[in-house]
Amino acid sequence: MTNCKSLLLFLSLFCLLLRLPAQQPGELPWLKPEPAKKQALLAAIESRYKKDVEELSGKHKKQLAEIFKERYEIVKTAIEGEETITDSRINAYLSSLVAEIFKANPSLPASEIRVLFSNDVVVNACSMGEGTILFNTGLFHRLKSESQAVFTICHELAHYLLDHGNNSIRSYVNTVYSDSFQKELKSIQQSEFKQNQQLISLAVNFTFRNRRHSRQHEAAADSMAVELMKNTGYNLQGALECLAILDSSAKMKYDSPLRLQERFNFSGQPFRKRWIDSDVMRFTSEDETAADSILADSLKTHPDCSTRIERLKPFIKARQQPGARDFKVSEATFKQLVQQFDYELLEHLFKKKEVSKCLFLTLQMLNTHPSDPYLHTMTGRCLNEIYRRQKAHELNRFVDLPADTYNAEYNQLLHLIQNLRLTEIAALSFYYLQQQEAGCAAYKPFGSVFEEAKKHFTN
C-alpha cells in the first residue's frame, strides 16, 4: 500500500512537471540548450562508435570502418550544431513516451537507445543504426496523438532492432568491394568505348537490388512497430494515422495561400504586380512512358504510404486491444509541444540562416493566428534580414532561388524576394510593422525590430 501510495505521489508529481503552463505563443519557454546533456550525448555516441569499429572483422573491415566514421560524424555534427534538442523539460516528455515502450517490452536493450528530438522541418524520423533515433520536430508538430508519436518511435526502434542500417552498409560494402564487382569495374575501366553507359547500367542494377531491400525493410519495421506497440496500451490506429500524415507530408501544416498582394499592400508602398511576375524559361513535362514509371518505382526507398496502410490494416485489426488510448503520459504536454515546435521551427530556421523558409512558414501560420505578435515580429525580422543581406550582396546565402520544384506558394514568395529592390524591401518591412504596431506594442521584441525597419527605410 505504501509502495502504491509513493508511486501515485511520484506519478502525480511527474505529470505536474510535464504539464506546461498555458502561454501566449509569443511568450513560450524557448528551448534551453544544456551543455552537460550535449557532452553526455557526445560521449555516448563516441563510445558506441569506438565499440562498433572494434567489433568489426572480415575482409572489408577497413571500408566498413570508413562508413561508420561518416555516420558518427553526421550524428556528432547534429549534436554539436544543436540540431538535436537537449532541453531537459522537453526530453523528459520524450523519455516518458520511450519509457512506455520499454515498460511494455522489457527485453529491449534500453541502455543502447537514444531517442532525441531533432529541430528539422522535414516530416520524418530516422534510426541512425548505432542506437540514435532522431525524431524531427517537423514530424512531431503535425501529429495529433501520443499513439502516433509512439508508433513513430516503435518504427525506428524496429529498424535498430532488426539491424537494417548496418545490414545495408554491410550489403553495400560486400557488393561493391566483392571480387566480382571489382572485376567488372576494372573491365569497364579498361574498355575504350561506352564506359559510362556500362557503369550506369551496373549502378542501376545495384540500386534496384538495394532499394528493393530498403522497401522490404520498411514493411518489416512497420510490422514490428505494431508488435512493440501492442502491449503499451496505446491505440494501434495511431500507426495508420501516422502513416496517413506522412503520406500528406508534401502539404504544409498551415497550408494556405500567402495572399502576398493583400498582406504587402500599403498606401505608402502599394503592391506592384511586377514583384511576383515570373517569366522564367520552362520545359513542359514529357509524357511518362511505362519504362519511366517502372524505373521511378524501382528507385523508391520507401513503399507508398497508402500501400503500407493497406498492408498494416489486417495486422492491426488482429492485435487491437480494448481500452487502448491515444494519450497516456500527458495530452496537455503533447499539445503544448506540438504548438511550441511550430515556433521553435521558425526560430531554428532563422538561426540557421534559412530566411526565406522561415518567412514562408511564418506567413502561412499568420493565416491561422492573425493577431500573433510573435509572427508579425518574425515577419519584420525576416524582411530586415533580407534587407541587410541584399545590401551586403549575400542575400542568396540566406534565401532560396525560385524553382518550379517548390510549392507554388513558396515559389511565389521567392519571386517576390528576387524582384524587390533594396528600397522596396525597407519600405515593406517598415509599413508592415507600422500596420501591426498597435497590436504588437506590448510584445517586447517588436520594438527593436520596428526600430531597425525604420532605420533602413529612412536611410
Binding site: 561493391v176 569495374l185 549502378a203 520545359f283 514529357e286 511518362e288 550582396h393 542568396n396 529592390r421 533594396l422
Partner: protein
C-alpha cells in the same frame, strides 16, 4: 518530370557510391564526364538560362555521347538532353525565342555549322546545316577567336519571338570578305538565306535587331583591306521571305551614322537607329565621332525624323568639351552601349580614352637604342553616361570616376590615331566596361564596369554597377576581394550578377546569384 527525377536519382546514386578506400575501385573513380563548354541562353538581350555541354561518354572512334544540361536563370536544372554526335563538334552559342531554344554547333572536321532547334519539351524540332568552304572556315574561326562580345550578348544567333532565329555568318569568297544572313524557323521546317550582291567590296555585317516584319543589319564595307575609308549601310530584310526591303547608306546630308543599336519600342512600323555620327568622310575606325545620331525610320528604310546631339554644342552644356570633341579629364569617348528604355529615354554608356606619352617606353628605347617599344600608350579614363529625353534632347551627362588604366602597344601603333587604338583596345577587352543588361520589358538596365581600388578600407578589384529603374539612376559596388581565393563575376538574370568564388583550401567552388542594389 519523373524521368528527370530518375536521371537525378542516378546521379545521386553515383555520388553515393563515392565512398571507398584506397586500392579499390569505386564507380565514381571510373565514371568521367568532361565539360566541353558552358554559356548563356539569351532572349531579347536578357539571360534566360545557362547551358553546360558535357561529353558524357565515348561511343566509338568517331562518336561521342553528349549531355546538354540546361539550367534556368535561377540555376535550377531544367533539362538534360542526351545525344550522340561526331567527336569534332563544339557548341558555340544558344538563344531562346520564348517557344524554342537553338544551339549553334560547329563541326571542325566537316567545316559545318549546325543550328539545332529544341522545343520546350526537350525534344529536337529541326536541324539546319550550313557548310563552310575552306576560306570561310578560317575566316569564321578568326572572327570567333577575337570574341570581343560581352558575355550577356550573342554574336551569331538572335531570337525572333515565336518565329525562329536569325543568324549572320562571316564568310570569305576568294579575296573578298563577305557575309550572309540566314533565318531558321522554329514553328515549321523553313529557312531562307540572304546573300548580298557581289560589289567587289569587303563587307562585315552586324545584326542590330528586328521588329515584327524586318530584320535590320548594319554592313560596314570598304574597297580594300587596308583602306582607310569605310562606309556604313543599313540593310532591311523581310523576315517572312528573306527578300531585301531596303539597303541605304547611313548618310543623312553631311552626317554619316554608324548604328550600334535599333529600338523597336512604340509603333511597330517604325524603329529607332542609334549610333555615333561623323561629318564628311571621317571614319569610325580612325576618327573621333562628332556626336550621337538618332534616326526614326519606317519599314521602308526612310528616315522619318533625325536628331544629332553634338559633343561641341550639346555636350558642352554639361561638360567641358574642346574643339576636337575631347571631354575635360576624360579625353575622347568610346561608346560601348546605346539603348532605349520602355519610357522612351535613350542612354549611352561610354568610357574615356586618350593617347599619352609613355615615359617608360621612351626611356627603354633611349637606353636600349632599339626603338622596339611603343613611345605612346592609351590611357583609359572614366565612365560617362548620357541621357536623352524621348524627344532625343540631351538631358544629362554624368561622369563616373574610376582609376585610369594604361595600355602599351607596339611601335607600329604610335602611328595610329587614338580612335584606331581604342578599336583595338575594345577588341582585346582593355576597357573596364563589362556589360549592359536590359531588364524585363526594357523598363530597367544595369551597366557594369570594374575598377581597382586602393583605399584604407579596401584594396582590390571592385565591380561597379550603374542601374536605371523607375526613372532614377542608382549605383552599387561589389568588392571582388573576399575570403575566397579567387572571385569571378559574370552577368546573371536582369538585375543580378553571378558570383563564382573558389576556396582553394577547401577545394570548393561557390556559385551564387546576387542582386544589384
Amino acid at each position: 518530370m519523373r524521368k528527370l527525377k530518375g536521371i537525378f536519382l542516378s546521379f545521386f546514386l553515383l555520388g553515393m557510391l563515392q565512398l571507398g578506400a584506397q586500392g579499390k575501385l569505386t564507380i565514381d573513380q571510373v565514371y568521367s564526364v568532361k565539360l566541353r563548354n558552358s554559356g548563356t541562353i539569351i532572349e531579347d538581350e536578357q539571360i534566360k538560362g545557362y547551358f553546360f555541354f558535357y561529353q558524357s561518354d565515348k561511343i566509338d572512334k568517331k562518336t561521342n555521347e553528349y549531355t546538354l544540361r540546361i539550367v534556368d536563370e535561377n540555376l535550377a536544372a531544367l533539362k538534360d538532353i542526351k545525344f550522340t554526335d561526331s567527336k569534332d563538334i563544339v557548341l558555340i552559342e544558344a538563344s531562346y525565342n520564348g517557344s524554342s531554344i537553338v544551339f549553334l554547333f560547329y563541326n571542325d572536321k566537316e567545316n559545318s555549322l549546325e543550328y539545332r532547334l529544341y522545343g520546350m519539351n526537350g525534344k529536337q524540332l529541326y536541324s539546319y546545316t550550313k557548310i563552310l568552304d575552306k576560306k570561310s572556315e578560317s575566316y569564321f574561326k578568326m572572327i570567333m577567336s577575337q570574341n570581343s562580345s560581352e558575355e550577356s550578348e550573342n554574336q551569331n544567333i538572335f531570337d525572333i519571338p515565336g518565329k525562329g532565329f536569325v543568324s549572320v555568318t562571316p564568310l570569305r569568297e576568294s579575296k573578298k570578305y563577305t557575309y550572309d544572313v540566314n533565318f531558321y524557323s522554329s514553328d515549321k521546317k523553313k529557312t531562307w538565306t540572304y546573300n548580298p550582291v557581289e560589289d567587289g567590296k569587303l563587307a562585315s555585317a552586324q545584326y542590330l535587331g528586328a521588329n515584327d516584319s524586318i530584320a535590320v543589319i548594319e554592313v560596314v564595307s570598304k574597297d580594300k583591306l587596308m583602306s582607310k575609308h569605310s562606309e556604313s549601310t543599313l540593310l532591311g530584310i523581310n523576315l517572312e521571305n528573306g527578300r531585301k526591303v531596303f539597303e541605304i547608306r547611313t548618310q543623312d546630308g553631311k552626317n554619316q551614322l554608324y548604328p550600334m543599336n535599333i529600338s523597336t519600342l512604340g509603333n511597330s512600323g517604325e524603329f529607332l537607329v542609334i549610333g555615333p555620327y561623323y561629318q564628311g568622310d571621317e571614319s569610325v575606325t580612325r576618327d573621333n565621332s562628332d556626336g550621337l545620331g538618332i534616326w526614326l525610320m519606317n519599314n521602308k528604310g526612310k528616315i522619318v525624323r533625325s536628331k544629332y546631339v553634338s559633343w561641341e554644342k550639346d555636350l558642352s552644356k554639361y561638360l567641358k568639351v574642346d574643339q576636337k570633341g575631347r571631354v575635360e579629364d576624360l579625353g575622347y569617348i568610346y561608346f560601348h552601349k546605346l539603348m532605349q528604355t520602355e519610357d522612351g529615354r535613350i542612354f549611352a554608356i561610354g568610357e574615356g580614352y586618350r593617347r599619352v606619352a609613355d615615359a617608360s617606353g621612351i626611356a627603354l628605347n633611349v637606353l636600349t637604342g632599339s626603338y622596339s617599344t611603343g613611345m605612346t600608350k592609351l590611357k583609359i579614363t572614366d565612365m560617362l553616361m548620357l541621357e536623352l529625353s524621348p524627344n532625343f534632347e540631351l538631358n544629362n551627362a554624368r561622369i563616373f570616376e574610376k582609376n585610369a588604366n594604361n595600355f602599351r602597344f607596339s611601335t607600329a601603333t604610335d602611328m595610329g590615331t587614338p580612335h584606331a587604338l581604342a578599336t583595338v583596345a575594345k577588341t582585346y577587352g582593355y576597357f573596364d566596361y563589362s556589360y549592359t543588361q536590359m531588364g524585363k520589358g526594357k523598363a530597367t538596365f544595369t551597366s557594369g564596369y570594374t575598377d581597382y581600388e586602393k583605399s584604407k578600407e579596401y584594396k582590390g578589384m571592385v565591380f561597379n554597377a550603374i542601374s536605371y529603374g523607375d526613372g532614377k539612376i542608382t549605383t552599387d559596388r561589389i568588392n571582388l576581394k573576399s575570403s575566397a581565393s579567387s572571385t569571378k563575376l559574370l552577368p546573371g538574370k536582369p538585375g543580378s550578377v553571378l558570383l563564382l568564388e573558389y576556396f582553394k583550401k577547401d577545394k570548393r567552388l561557390e556559385v551564387r546569384m546576387e542582386k544589384i542594389n
